[in-house]
Symmetry: C2
Subunit: 351 residues, 2 copies
């Protein structure tokens, strides 16, 4: 039994009563924090992630500063692919870059099964260190197979995902083989994170919103479904997130996560109209709004909380990651406001 | 009376019967065509646009090659702002870049009213040359005030539009003043294009999909409405387009254009469910799909035509601009397929 089981974050993931709306921020650990920039050093983020003591400290920083209701492991979705030796690196200011992108069946060999204890021991060590000291749940995560594949195939961040779409449409058998390998890698990684102590996981299908519903349904959904089916068997909450996913929200939800992450384009009340009144949602303040004044931010936060109507299945978050130039004081205020919002169940039930 | 009034494109813009589904492609004139690369030269695209003979020829190239049902003026949405001396340039491989971005009320002075005859005579000359030789309608266009403002404020293409959102939320009065200036400039530009002979116009609010519905409704919609209200008075078809606009489609449609441009994320049948059975739609093949095989592309085209169910209010197009690496032969085939699709009104009425 997880001693944090009754924490606001985990209770909200089950839509059970809890004392305040839980809040955390995607990319809460990172460049927006001066204490991060101070200890992070100059090397690649992948090297920082390999240093378990450093990653532990970086993961804790935003929890201490903001008083968030969850920690999220300081890591990156390409860590397992990097560890397998696929030749993925992260270039500052660009993002993941692949020296020899995936282009043919021969490249499948470069995606052997992940042995987390041998390939990414530092990830497990960081988690083990963290759960000893954290008094809020720790969230583990992985990239969804489509988003991972898009990096492997494009070789760099893309605006069109043209090569990825071409490969799936032109050679569905190769695409499915690639997805199968990635599904296995993702499940291994998540299993090992859970065994090491994370209390929940988030699957980032950040770029799935670039696909039409028909393409998502045929080429992505079956694979993401396998992941949630494997992880739900372990009885821990799962969150499924992407940006610009309004048109595929029902499909993404059908992949089977306990919680759906929503970006700012879809108001929470609209999302719940589409996904059903019991839907458990995470989101959805536009991270760009954090550059506005305290008053503007407070109004937007109030609007989001209002649209949730004190539904017990709401985890407050941004609609995408914290932007590096964000003033941490703004996020401190957001946490205070979310925590002080009355969660009046009686009122909700009566409304 | 426009002699092309009964052309398939203009008839479809009014949802009146016509002999085949009309088709044109956003950015059909441009880098994907070898004949374009041959005559375009090395200079800035803004210099090419200033050469009316060259722009006329470039506009005609895709009409001749593809047999499209409309031509679209070879120009760019930042042309009026460049012509006013705001310091907007277009850098190859980057896009519009502004030397001194818009940041305060002082910058409003840099946006005097547009005098199209003096500021952009080459645009009008190109149109006048084109309408003499074209046997299909010519589409003029402008950037919508939000998308233009995003370039002026960000100073370069952006993924987050953080400065633009901050300005509108922080200083609504300054935002509205900026929008007012841009609305005036856009209306002047479109009026002059219409007076010179274009048969329809498209308003590109390409990046409006980055906004939440509430922000779009408050800060963008009233301004775009003014433009359609001014242009609709001239009784020519108007098209309103943006990418990733699924969540704001009804709001965008309420701005008052005759036709809504839809990107590939929203299937046409879903768009018509939202906008009403009489909605006139343009779109919506994913431009990235044009890299796939003939068979895959043909299936996607058939799917789009099928979802339209022979509705007379459909103009076939891509869901965004032609990608520069596109093989023109693929688009030739798309036009043939769209033109040969039976527009069976009887069947539609009976279904």
């Amino acid at each position: 039994m997880n001693p944090l089981s009754d924490s606001p974050f985990l209770a909200a993931c089950r839509a059970e009563p809890h004392e305040h709306t839980p809040v955390w921020f995607m990319r809460q650990a990172g460049r927006s924090l001066p204490e991060y920039r101070k200890i992070r050093g100059d090397g690649s983020i992948l090297d920082a992630i390999k240093n378990a003591d450093l990653s532990t400290e970086i993961t804790l920083q935003p929890v201490h500063r903001y008083n968030t209701d969850a920690a999220i492991l300081y890591s990156d979705i390409v860590v397992p692919l990097h560890a397998l030796g696929f030749g993925v690196e992260i270039h500052p200011g660009i993002g993941p870059v692949v020296e020899t992108p995936f282009s043919s069946a021969d490249d499948l060999k470069r995606l052997r099964p992940l042995q987390p204890e041998d390939d990414t021991p530092y990830v497990l060590e960081t988690i083990q260190q963290l759960v000893k000291v954290l008094n809020v749940p720790l969230i583990g995560f992985a990239g969804a197979p489509f988003t991972l594949a898009s990096y492997l195939i494009e070789g760099a961040p893309s605006r069109t995902y043209a090569r990825t779409k071409t490969l799936m449409l032109e050679d569905p058998a190769l695409w499915d083989s690639l997805m199968d390998r990635l599904v296995e890698i993702v499940i291994s990684s998540l299993h090992s994170q859970i065994a090491s102590g994370v209390s929940a996981i988030q699957l980032f299908d950040s770029w799935a919103g670039a696909l039409s519903p028909a393409v998502y349904e045929r080429f992505v959904l079956p694979h993401s479904k396998k992941i949630f089916s494997a992880i739900n068997a372990l009885n821990i909450p799962t969150i499924h997130f992407g940006v610009g996913t309004g048109e595929i929200l029902e499909l993404m939800a059908s992949a089977g996560s306990s919680v759906m992450g929503i970006d700012w384009r879809t108001p929470l009340d609209i999302a719940r109209m589409r996904l059903g009144p019991e839907a458990i949602l995470q989101g959805n303040l536009d991270p760009a709004i954090c550059f506005a004044s305290e008053e503007v931010v407070a109004n937007e936060v109030a609007d989001i909380l209002g649209r949730n109507k004190s539904h017990p299945g709401h985890i407050f978050n941004l609609g995408h990651g914290v932007l590096p130039e964000t003033n941490p004081e703004v996020l401190e205020k957001v946490v205070e406001q979310v925590h002080s919002y009355p969660l009046n169940m009686a009122e909700r039930n009566g409304s």
